[in-house]
């Protein structure tokens, strides 16, 4: 009877523990995600499930990039805003197996710091992708969303001005500055930019990734309505979009947008919304894809053969000494087993 009761742990709301579940859930790789386990994180010094943490560095607004692109988990670069000795900026860390990053960034200096007048005093919320052999970084600054490109991921050349700034003509944005970019390359001449304004997510389109035109209409994704006593996790804000393309088991193309949501009670989690094809409105998943707690933000989703990794930033823990942001790792499907890193 206990064996009959144990499957109660499996739930459509959150990922089930490893060892159960069915591999034929076709969208299992899209979520929900579970915490990475100690066996999957080779660095035993850090608290599970964190891959980069330091109470003084305040690692936040991270994005991960698969450097190998082979489908197998190998080298992963993490671009993250940090408060390190050279100064606050966007730093780059590299892991040979994507699951633990050393405390020393590569290079030692920030790869991007405020430099142009339109950027003001900060740059953050990086979104990094490998496009055409180059490293593209979109980032948020005081005057809007900027674009910087690099051949090696360490030295970037930025566009002179924002590629997407405030637009008074966009009624729902209220003239506010867009931020938190999420880039999606659909084809060589078709790019989509998901961005956050006023706790909502909008979309813009481009044929070259540099010149953008906002999609007509209102926001693509807005906070979900709910009663005060039963507020969904994303009933107050949605932001930090991260998009990728997928194909269903029956060949239907799907655009998935992962995002960070929050409600009035201070609960935050990672959600997912999707659409068939590359155009049209998004439909929300029925539940968050990662546990709603610890101020989850900035999701990055990297699919590999057999599993998908979710990188995100959240506070280190519930104790007062753990109230600082760090980069955590999630795994989907729940019964996936990540191979041990090669020695």
């Amino acid at each position: 009877m206990l064996a009959a009761a144990l499957p109660l742990v499996g739930c459509g709301t959150l990922a089930a523990p490893a060892g159960d579940g069915n591999a034929v859930r076709p969208n299992a790789h899209a979520g929900p995600f579970r915490d990475a386990t100690a066996d999957e994180l080779p660095d035993t010094v850090r608290k599970v499930p964190y891959v980069l943490d330091d109470p003084n560095a305040n690692y936040r607004e991270s994005v991960a990039v698969d450097l190998d692109g082979t489908g197998s988990l190998g080298r992963v670069a993490l671009y993250v805003v940090a408060d390190l000795a050279p100064g606050t900026g966007i730093y780059r860390f590299v892991s040979a197996h994507g699951r633990s990053f050393g405390k020393k960034p590569d290079p030692a200096r920030p790869v991007l710091e405020p430099g142009a007048a339109w950027e003001g005093s900060f740059v953050g919320r990086p979104d990094v992708h490998v496009i055409g052999g180059k490293i593209w970084m979109l980032y948020q600054a005081a005057g809007g969303i900027g674009l910087a490109r690099s051949d090696d991921g360490r030295t970037f050349t930025r566009e002179p001005g924002p590629v997407l700034g405030p637009d008074p003509a966009a009624a729902w944005e209220g003239g506010k500055t867009p931020g938190a970019p999420g880039l999606l390359k659909v084809a060589d001449d078709d790019f989509r930019l998901f961005y956050a304004v006023d706790d909502r997510i909008g979309e813009a389109r481009s044929s070259d990734g540099v010149t953008w035109k906002r999609a007509p209409g209102g926001p693509l994704l807005a906070p979900l309505a709910g009663s005060d006593a039963d507020a969904p996790f994303d009933s107050a804000s949605v932001g930090d979009p991260y998009a990728l393309l997928a194909t269903s088991a029956e060949g239907r193309r799907i655009t998935r947008v992962y995002y960070a949501g929050g409600n009035a009670d201070g609960q935050r989690g990672i959600g997912m919304a999707a659409r068939f094809g590359v155009d049209g409105p998004l439909t929300r998943a029925t539940a968050p894809v990662f546990p709603v707690a610890l101020d989850a933000r900035s999701p990055t989703v990297l699919p590999f053969s057999g599993f998908t990794l979710l990188y995100l930033t959240q506070i280190e823990g519930t104790a007062s000494t753990q109230d600082y942001p760090a980069v955590a790792l999630g795994v989907a499907p729940g019964n996936a087993s990540i191979p041990a890193p090669s020695p």
């Binding site: 499996g10 034929v24 998935r256 201070g266 609960q267 989690g269 999707a274 659409r275 998943a285 519930t318």
Partner: protein, 448 residues
């Protein structure tokens, strides 16, 4: 701490589904002769299997009849190309027919049973986001027993009825004590937890009635009408966790309660109309049409109500969950045509070699699973073959007959594609199909 709260929410949010459970005779047949004839025997059954196909057939037996057999069913069902790994159905089957007479009115009593040789019963719930073969996974893993009585008040009329019994399980569990959250330094492990479990499980019985009438206007034609009642068993699980969560620096009391109800077994109501014709000597052609009331099937998804009491800031707890919603699965009634043909060769006096073939078509009662439910099912074509040996008066000891029958059954389930309405569905699109292979043998002894 967050993990403990999240784990509790896992239980809180549980909306689990249970594969539909039914008797194995419903799905794969009972007795080798009846199975080989595609189950089209309501108007042509007079051995122990009449207890399922038509209780009035017991009164048509020539004398006391004992049967014992074995069946084995192997599933090759696939979801998106992956083997669904459904357990085989296997076990002993058999029964007895005991005729007599009261006031010169012939009557008969019969018992038929299927006894699984692995387990008497099994309850299993599954994650509703995982497609499950609702009509096959775990469906026939239970004990089946039927007892019936039949009379033949006139030569052209037989009437019978009785009850069928299915075994099912229910239970509850309580957990109390202190759960230890492990740390990354290896100083504390979850195995340091001090928990006490109490599990209470009962084996219960589900009963439903069946009735049958057979009309025999001539030796070469008979017709039958059969009714099988509906039955369902609700599985109630109550869980209580009351104790403490030890996170090292702090120990937090926690209380969690779950009440869950699931429809564990469901036998749909059935009405059978059948005929049996003997156009020429030794040839028999049978036709049955079965109406199955699947529309009465309630949601297999469990209904659960939960409460969680952990003294943590609300921002560290997941959002409150609502009682799980159960919507009717929308299963559809269906008509199942069955046809069977039997020819009895007689190479020697007192020796018969019957050859049998059958076909049945079961349209899937499951509607397109475009929403959040994932009840995998497709149409089913059932092809059956069988043969046997009948020895009449095999010896002075046995004034009746000795029969040995074998059957083979192939079910073809054409691939069915499911396309989800929501692109964000956690399950996603899938296709399902496969085959089911079954075989059996029955040894019968008839006394006249």
């Amino acid at each position: 701490m967050r993990r403990a709260a999240a784990a509790a929410v896992l239980l809180a949010g549980a909306a689990l589904a249970a594969p539909v459970r039914a008797n194995p005779a419903d799905t794969f047949g009972l007795g080798s002769r009846s199975t080989a004839l595609g189950g089209a025997v309501s108007a042509d059954v007079h051995d122990f299997s009449a207890g399922y196909y038509n209780p009035s057939g017991l009164a048509l037996a020539g004398g006391t009849d004992l049967s014992l057999g074995y069946m084995y069913v192997s599933h090759q069902l696939r979801l998106n190309g992956h083997d669904s790994q459904i357990d085989p159905v296997r076990g002993l089957m058999g029964g007895i027919v005991a005729p007599g007479s009261v006031a010169k009115i012939p009557f008969a009593f019969g018992i038929a049973t299927h006894v699984p040789d692995e387990r008497l019963s099994r309850a299993r719930t599954v994650d509703p986001s995982v497609p499950v073969w609702m009509l096959y996974d775990n469906r026939s893993q239970l004990l089946y027993l039927t007892a019936n009585l039949a009379i033949r008040p006139f030569k052209w009329l037989a009437v019978g009825g009785g009850m069928t019994f299915l075994a099912a399980t229910k239970g509850s569990f309580d957990i109390s004590g202190t759960a230890v959250l492990p740390d990354t330094l290896g100083k504390r492990s979850e195995y340091d937890s001090r928990l006490r479990h109490e599990v209470d499980a009962d084996l219960t019985a589900v009963r439903y009635p069946e009735f049958g009438v057979t009309i025999l206007p001539s030796d070469r034609f008979s017709a039958a009408l059969v009714y099988r009642g509906q039955a369902e068993l609700n599985l109630a699980i109550d869980a209580k966790l009351k104790g403490k969560v030890d996170a090292g620096l702090v120990t937090v009391p926690a209380q969690y309660a779950l009440e869950s109800q699931t429809l564990d077994a469901f036998i749909p109501r059935q009405v059978v109309l059948g005929t049996s014709t003997q156009p020429v000597e030794r040839l028999r052609v049978n036709l049955d049409v079965v109406w199955v009331q699947w529309s009465a099937y309630k949601s297999p998804v469990s209904y659960s109500v939960t409460s969680l009491d952990v003294p943590l800031p609300k921002s560290l707890l997941p959002p409150a969950t609502k009682p799980s919603a159960r919507t009717a699965p929308g299963f559809l009634d269906r008509f199942v045509p069955r046809v069977g043909v039997e020819y009895r060769f007689e190479p020697l006096q007192k020796l018969e070699l019957p050859v049998r073939a059958g076909y049945a078509f079961e349209r899937s009662p499951v509607p397109d699973q475009t929403g959040t439910t994932n009840f995998a099912d497709t149409d089913r074509h059932i092809l059956s073959l069988g043969t046997g040996v009948v020895l009449d008066h095999p010896g002075a000891v046995l004034p009746g007959n000795l029969r040995f029958d074998v059957d083979a059954q192939l079910s073809i389930l054409p691939t069915r594609v499911t396309l989800k309405d929501s692109p964000a569905d956690f399950t996603g699109d899938y296709h399902a199909g496969g085959t089911i292979l079954a075989g059996g043998a029955t040894l019968s002894v008839g006394f006249k």
